[in-house]
């Protein structure tokens, strides 16, 4: 696989993004340390990685929710500025958050919350009930409050609210991890279908690799602030190339009834405040070479010295 197959101009372009969290009296933590990513219109990109690798920080930066230390984010050719309290022009990107129990306003009817989005988009033809119908909920639910819904239903409401603003890019930050196993695949597929249907791009963040495999066109694997492998989902699954991707895939237990224990990746994720020298994965890598300890493989699509582009 050679350069990334983005046929059209990218909708979202993230280049060498660095985001640092600063706490007084402590060294600053580079949550995202030079990550690059593209999302095209109508394309579903899955972003996977262990907790603490910077997935959510990247997503928040794309939405303009947080300061960027270095690098650039452009959306439809325009640089993304941090969101201010008053001006909210940046409504082409909408986000569905992890926990639908805290992301919806408990004191307002869900119909009113969805109507906010419609007003932002200047849409007078669509009613909140239409959107509820699109996410598979009865129209009359618009008059209810969030506490009257189950977790899966709430997340559908959150998706309806995000879609109301007519986003060109939808971001799901672990949108299914708070849901029941049986609702996870459903909600993920719903997000994909609605995004693709409306021609919007979808950046789907999850630590559940089996769901990402189901819905993503391309998948980006993140480790300690860096994107270590990008590729077409089926190619990455069939033939993962970065040792970290291999380890991640081998760790998924399969419900085949055979009693096979999943493979273990030894060690813990290093502290992002003091990342290891050279390749960030080298302390845990089973294929580590001398070069990995000294030089950082800062290239793509597979950031590993074993897969250096010629």
């Amino acid at each position: 696989m050679t350069p990334l197959p983005t046929t059209t101009a990218p909708l979202l372009a993230v280049d060498d993004l660095v985001v640092e969290h600063r706490t007084p009296g402590r060294p600053s933590v580079r949550a995202v340390a030079g990550a690059s990513l593209r999302v095209g219109p109508g394309e579903v990109v899955g972003l996977v990685g262990e907790s603490g690798c910077g997935k959510s920080t990247l997503a928040r930066a794309v939405c303009g929710l947080g300061p960027v230390s270095a690098g650039s984010i452009t959306f439809e050719g325009e640089p993304v500025m941090p969101l201010g309290l008053r001006k909210r022009r940046h409504t082409g990107v909408q986000m569905v958050f992890q926990d639908p129990y805290t992301s919806l306003n408990p004191r307002r009817r869900v119909g009113d919350q969805i109507a906010d989005g419609l007003r932002t988009a200047g849409d007078t033809a669509t009613s909140p009930a239409d959107l509820l119908e699109r996410v598979g909920l009865p129209r009359e639910f618009a008059g209810r409050h969030p506490h009257e819904f189950s977790g899966g239903q709430r997340q559908r409401v959150a998706i309806a609210r995000a879609l109301a603003a007519r986003p060109r890019l939808l971001i799901g930050d672990e949108p299914i991890s708070a849901l029941d196993a049986s609702a996870q695949a459903q909600v993920a597929r719903l997000m994909r279908d609605l995004a693709v249907e409306s021609g919007a791009g979808l950046l789907f963040i999850s630590h559940d690799l089996s769901v990402v495999r189901l819905i993503a066109d391309r998948v980006a694997v993140m480790y300690l602030g860096r994107i270590v492998e990008v590729g077409r989902t089926e190619e990455v699954w069939a033939e993962p190339r970065h040792p970290y991707t291999k380890a991640l895939l081998a760790a998924i237990p399969h419900p085949d009834g055979m009693g096979v224990l999943p493979a273990e990746l030894p060690g813990d994720v290093p502290d992002p405040a003091a990342p290891p020298a050279g390749c960030r994965f080298h302390p845990r890598c089973p294929l580590v070479m001398d070069r990995c300890r000294e030089e950082d493989p800062a290239f793509g699509p597979v950031a590993c010295w074993l897969h250096e582009p010629k």
């Binding site: 262990e50 907790s51 089996s210 760790a251 998924i252 399969h254 009834g257 009693g259």
Partner: protein, 258 residues
């Protein structure tokens, strides 16, 4: 031989039937998986064994452990069982460990109470346990606090705490749900190893059928407070008889790709 026998267990909370006649049998050295959606009564079954049901709940039926019925046991007797013969590992290691006590204190407190060990003995055993659950630098870890460990390490410590009094039965309620897949793999391997080595009877409550398939010997599937299907792992996951088990397997993202 049966380590723990749950027969016809019914639990009512505020007039609502949460469990409607659950039968389970745990055997030493075997992992018994309990699957089902949230709200199906998996966790309540686990809590009932330890007498940890919420206030105002009524439990009938029988939970037999070594000739005693845990449901009718007086509170003092039950306290000896709880944490001694039957131990539990909870879902979220960030909240199940006490944040202000050192790991060592949490490991030795119940050991000294249940087993009547002296300070030095308890300490030696705690360090040994930390080594057994593969915490690096056990001596040093003994003095540290839970927040100084990662999620996977905390769950290992929680398992060590549960194992401290050499229980016969271990109830693990979604022990890997809060963990990443790579860390989960390690904890599952540890659980399986401990079960084989110590002859523990493990009740593994999980909604993840992948996890179930990896470690469980027997699998029971619960729905609306009833066990709808029970049997050896291969049989339940490969040739499910009950339509609900089939629908659970089909709803998995993997099912379509295969």
């Amino acid at each position: 031989m049966t380590a723990l026998d749950i027969a016809g267990l019914k639990v009512t909370i505020a007039g609502r039937d949460v469990l409607r006649g659950v039968d389970l049998r745990l055997e030493p050295g075997k992992v018994h998986g309990l699957a089902g959606e949230s709200g199906s009564g998996k966790t309540m079954t686990g809590l009932a064994v330890l007498g940890l049901l919420p206030h105002g709940s009524r439990a009938t039926g029988a939970i037999r452990l070594g000739g005693r019925d845990l449901l009718t046991l007086p509170p003092k007797e039950l306290n000896k069982v709880r944490g001694g013969e039957v131990a539990m590992v909870f879902q979220d290691p960030a909240t199940s460990l006490h944040p202000m006590l050192t790991v060592g204190r949490q490991l030795t407190e119940h050991m000294r109470h249940h087993l009547g060990l002296g300070k030095a003995e308890a300490r030696a055993r705690a360090v040994e346990l930390l080594g057994k659950v593969r915490i690096p630098g056990a001596e040093e870890a003994y003095r540290r606090y839970p927040h100084q460990f990662s999620g996977g390490m905390r769950q290992r410590i929680a398992i060590a705490v549960a194992l401290a009094c050499s229980p016969k039965v271990l109830i693990a309620d979604e022990p890997t749900t809060a963990l990443d897949v790579t860390v989960q793999a390690g904890v599952l391997r540890l659980l399986r190893g401990l079960c084989d080595e110590l002859g523990l009877a493990v009740l593994l409550v999980t909604h993840d059928l992948g996890v179930m398939s990896a470690v469980a010997d027997e699998v029971s599937v619960m729905k609306d407070g009833l066990v709808v299907e029970s049997g050896p792992r291969v049989q339940v996951l490969r040739t499910p008889e009950h339509p609900y088990t089939r629908s659970l397997l089909e709803s998995l993202p993997d099912a379509e790709v295969r």
